[in-house]
Symmetry: D2
């Protein structure tokens, strides 16, 4: 992973954010809402810049396609000027202009997209392929102009009604083939744009009712589909990481990629573990009854922590609310796992997050991203300080020390039978368990949150 | 699996249910609350008796140890006469008398227990081993007298404070060894009693906070522990099935055996898939955001559906309320999966269920079990009728027919590359998806519930 | 409440359901999916026809506006022929034709609508008022032709982006006034169509974040708004019931009308209790962590049970999935409360339910409603049988008998001071509590479900 | 409310925390885990000391009765030396010594207790009354010695099996009378100890199943009970505040005091609004699907915010986990509401929180309380800074400005009919709604969290 460079500011044929210049780091006391208070891309943390640690990406779909603001009880409330053109490719090009203007002003090194975010798919496969190819050229130009890179792209295999019963897991083979055609085009776009990862999120891969479903066949088909995609990707020169993004439900009532543990098991059983890692989304973790850090740790334990989708849900409901991440204490727990895993290699922090429906000004896009980036930057500072200080790690090391040598180590090596273990136990009751010290450890986190220097 | 026999009525030194005789099948219109309305053990369904299909087991812990009725805000409300003896072995023997009197009157062919259900463990390993051995003798006598068999036993590795930080996953090796000693004794009891299965439920195998936990080491230790147990079990002649019972949380905040998919992945990666299957508990399924049928289907798809713990939770809270199962429509979905999987082999239906705290009469134990057994018997009738009628299966078969031959079958065999799939798709948009017909299929279930003959 | 008549079949300029005739009652063993198996409108239950008991209504929005099938990850999958006309009033008239053809074939006596369901609102208040008036004429004609009556209508004060921050609770007074104009027009339509009730559901009446909200002012404004609406309705001759439909969240993160108890408290404190009752929706109950029966009982205890929205949610997620009601045991609990409250007066059973996204055939509309109507009809039979049989009621009466006379009755009359109560208690510990017999009572319900005659 | 004084250190016959001295404020960079990093009782915030703002109280039950550490799957893990005495009153006295030693070392001005926390109740009413009277004398002595005051006490009407079917809502009048005797004794203890508030929490006031319940009668009885208690309390000189603590469920499946809105409605309808306010518990709020701040705001809007029980739940499960509060951003939202309501009068911040089961050392009691007190102190600093800075308040004021005068104000005064409102609306569509600016406002909170000076 080479060191990332600042983005070069970009404006297309017209400026969509004319009053707003590049967002600068102004320090925590700045009263300028359009400045970073913590995120200083050049600042060094543990020998690496914040930019290189966090590898921020903007998500094309939530911020530029203009569907944000809709919900089951009302249409979009956003009126984005770049979406007003009537011709599909003009609209798509203006959207790309807006996106790269925004991203270069925000100063992120990466972006992510679904195929249909960058251009409407049209009414035939040929049209779809042609438009995607054309937009790949447009995006490549803007990548070149700005230095912004493609963290990952993916095929939207869930919005078109043809996928109502699934894509790779559709009961009709012709829909599976159609989905494959889309993935093929997306892999080609990825290679052309130098993508670092390629993502699968199975929004319709699951079932609505067992009464009409063959879940075994569907999951076997999913594996066959992924193998074909992997083979094709590798054949055309994709050297990045394939990622699966788990989510327990929504839109499908039950999705096969429920959580990290489920996907890890699936990948191993299906011979996909060598090429695939996980893209962990915070709100998907909470929807699966896990914490964000839990899902990250599960992936890390399996050596499969690839990338993350940053956002937060509302603990008071069961929807994927995709709010921007602002809960710094929660992010500290997440970043502790990420740093403990050695940081990102091909992955990064993608803001799969959207404005609240009532946040209808273009300026709100900046507030939202600035807030999320500052929150992660602060979490990075605090997590690094905790690691430098070392008490957490030392506590953990001592707690498990009995497995480092002697009988504990022999047990771990599989050398002790149940009889041998019983004989060890017969020597006497284990000593009274020590305190797990959860409250003390939580206090350490809070103290680090309060006292870690801001810059 | 041989055909099961009716239990022979049993009374110990004193009768604990003197006013209640063997529970008979009296048909659906009987006004006798202490009679089966549907469960007729000798009735044939699909060529097998109800007794052989359902293989009911009573859970020793909820019904006889006397702790039922306690909750976080109050102690037990039950005052069971067999628990009044002050000497541990006398109390244990009376409890066994009560259990076998109850079970033989209820007419179940099986029971299940934790080691510490049958006798208090005492204050040393030697005492524990001695008592368990003595009670194994007592139980064997009563099995012999009644014909009731051991569906499974298990070691309670969660109640004793020594396990507060885990058993097989404890940070202290000496606790792991102590847990192993308990499992060793339980496996020996199992073999002595002719147990059909042996269960692991990891009530403290998980973590309270990541801050003090090494989750990777803990899960590796869990695997080492299970391998040692398996090897020892096989070495002393255990030929039954090892079972893991998944549960997402409670008592541990996060338990490693979250759900079926998690456990299946773990077993495969750890080389345990050949000896282990799953014991699926209804309420654990719902706590993991799944339906009972979902968890059963997940296990069946992996050829790992072993046995079930029958109960129900309250959808309005997140606790393992362990109510007796009475929701017949829900059980129909479950039994459809079980019959579709060929029925039970070594497994059965264990009532891991307890009386409500206010149900304080001994008679309530009968009401509760009768209700649960009738509910399962009815679900069996209805599920069998649906299978005989065949519409569901036929609908499903047709829905996936495109994978039976030609290109669909080639795809399933892994013979189609992404390019080949794309070329197939280029022939034209897939035909408009047919209706999934969920409402129609649900109506079929309700019609079967209304019209399947009761006897 | 007079006795309802069968609907007269109706077809508009063209038939939208040409292959389907009036749905007949054919008994539980009919193999015709397009027939009622239980719902026999003329059958007598407790001296009243099923039609008069259940007072079924079809919801215009889910079944005819054509938005059904959309979700946050994809557009509508339904392609309803009546929605293809390009002119708003033509489309609206065809939709009315389809609705009345469907409803008259289904044989329901009632329907319900939002203003914008029957016609797009257009781009000015005047257009909106004109179209609603014109459609009121069209609907009145079809009511006349079929005999189908208006159970209730309501103003959609949540879809239009102008309501993104609330309607009656909007921080901008001009939006409040605009909402009032809509309610005024809807009340006039109601009176013109002889509506039995008028409903308020506050889909945007709540808050997204406390940081920008004045919740006290907003709720006072809501009360002022409702008082103005009540006064106007009464002034133009509305003699029916005003209803509030509680819902805890969605679309607004927190809605003010959280549940029945919240709304009852609000109505009493705001002087609205004389004119308003509650419209209880099953899925809204479950979203608020209550059972459907709980919400009904809460309303009944306050003499405020007005009408119901029939559907069901998915207990595995937190969304208002609005599935058709098919869970007969659950409906028995609901109907027991409704019958215990004396049945409906102005209210009825409105199917606020929608097809699953994959149920894309027009025929599915029939399957779904037939299933829901049969489920309610069966619940009515069973609940009535339980009431006739009387054990539940008798059990309850005896359980509370100590309050019928003597000191218990004096306590209820407020005649015993704490000192007097203490002196009563000093006579000795209360007798050991009797069993609550929950399992036995649940068994009674299941037995009634199995044995209540189908016709 | 007079200014509170520091507690005078106290040790009973023996010291239970011999190695630990009074906890001092040492500032945020202190490495001493047994020191306050933020809570400086003498520090002034908005003209009042932190001590006077926060009015901290320790909860006797979680920290001193020794039941902490138990859960549904295992007994207590704590072995508190003061609980080892075999005689009830000796044990109770030692416990009081331990409590006052701990509280005086911690430096809290208040404590709270249930009757049975301070002494086992014994087996007759007379014994109970005698012991409570004796312990009231013991506690009064220690209050006198330390200056620590009674924030509130309450009667435990949920643990004893006699209350399994309810206390004030029991179906048996004699249990209601027994509960009244307990409340009478507790009110007398309160007056003797100069209690500032008296609390009712209805842990068994609700129902397990509607099948055996008369919910209307039960809730009327609850009101009669509360009126009798209020009248008696006032008659013996209690001039403090009566408080009801809402909780939606647990232990009772459905509790009548579900949430703040439910209780407020109940108090108003039952004529209790003049004497009663609410005690809002954070974890009870989240169990009811609300945020803590939501419940506080609901109480404040009704002028019924009395006191708070500070803790936090685990968003990943549905149990009342009662963890110590450490989530500072969440507490800032809560303290903003409390300060906006003018701060506490008779109420305070009671730590209704317990150690994790694995936190088995006496020292952990200090870590836990220090962490909670520092978290609240920090939230107080940040919330005050936000209020001084004024942007939030100004934003809110402007947002609702249209109701301050003219037609908006007339509407609020109830002077505009629906027709008048409609005529206002006919002037033209409301201006496009402004942004709600949620992300910007959330960023302000995070900035204040980072930049508010620590001292
Ligand atoms: Co995502
Ligand atoms: Co998401
Ligand atoms: Co179980
Ligand atoms: Co369980
Ligand atoms: Co509704
Ligand atoms: Co709804
Ligand atoms: Co509390
Ligand atoms: Co609590």
């Amino acid at each position: 992973m080479s060191t990332l460079k600042p983005a070069t500011p970009f404006t297309g044929r017209e400026s969509y954010f004319p009053g707003i210049g590049p967002i600068a780091y102004e320090g925590s006391r700045s009263r300028n809402p359009l400045a970073f208070k913590v995120y200083n891309p050049e600042a060094l943390v543990a020998g690496k810049t914040m930019r290189d640690h966090l590898r921020f990406a903007v998500a094309y779909w939530h911020s530029f396609t203009g569907s944000a603001g809709n919900d089951p009880f009302g249409p979009t409330t956003l009126d984005y000027p770049w979406n007003r053109a009537t011709d599909a490719l003009s609209r798509a090009t203006r959207r790309a202009d807006a996106a790269f203007e925004f991203m270069s002003k925000l100063g992120v090194p990466f972006y992510c997209f679904h195929d249909v975010d960058v251009c409407d798919e049209g009414d035939s496969l040929a049209t779809y392929e042609g438009r995607l190819k054309e937009m790949t050229r447009v995006l490549a130009e803007r990548q070149e102009a700005t230095g912004i890179q493609l963290l990952w792209n993916t095929a939207n295999l869930f919005s078109n009604p043809r996928y109502m019963h699934g894509a790779a897991t559709n009961p009709d083979f012709s829909v599976v083939a159609r989905a494959a055609a889309q993935v093929k085009a997306c892999l080609e776009a990825n290679v052309a744009l130098g993508g670092h990862n390629y993502v699968f999120w199975g929004g319709r891969e699951g079932y609505s009712t067992l009464l009409n479903s063959n879940t075994r066949l569907e999951q076997e088909n999913l594996a066959a589909f992924l193998r074909a995609a992997r083979d094709y990707g590798r054949s055309i020169g994709f050297t990045g990481t394939f990622l699966i993004e788990p989510k327990p439900m929504e839109p499908t009532k039950h999705q096969y990629d429920f959580d990290a543990a489920t996907v890890i098991g699936f990948l191993h059983r299906q011979g996909l573990a060598g090429d695939f890692k996980l893209n962990i989304e915070a709100n998907h973790a909470t929807l699966a009854s896990h914490s964000f850090a839990h899902e990250l740790q599960t992936a890390a334990d399996a050596s499969m922590l690839g990338s993350i989708d940053a956002n937060r849900g509302d603990p008071q409901n069961g929807w994927d609310t995709d709010q921007f991440p602002t809960d710094i204490p929660d992010l500290v727990q997440a970043v502790l796992v990420i740093l403990g895993n050695g940081g990102f290699t091909t992955g990064g922090v993608n803001f799969d997050a959207k404005l609240r429906r009532g946040s209808v000004d273009l300026e709100d896009l900046f507030h939202a991203h600035i807030g999320g980036m500052d929150a992660f930057a602060r979490a990075l500072q605090v997590a690094d300080a905790l690691r430098q200080e070392g008490t957490l790690e030392e506590f953990r090391r001592e707690r498990y020390a009995s497995f480092d040598e002697g009988q504990g180590a022999a047990f771990r090596r599989g050398e002790l039978s149940l009889e041998a273990l019983r004989d060890i136990a017969s020597a006497g009751e284990p000593r009274r368990p020590g305190s797990g010290r959860q409250e003390y450890l939580e206090n350490l986190i809070n103290q680090a949150l309060l006292t870690t220097p801001l810059a």
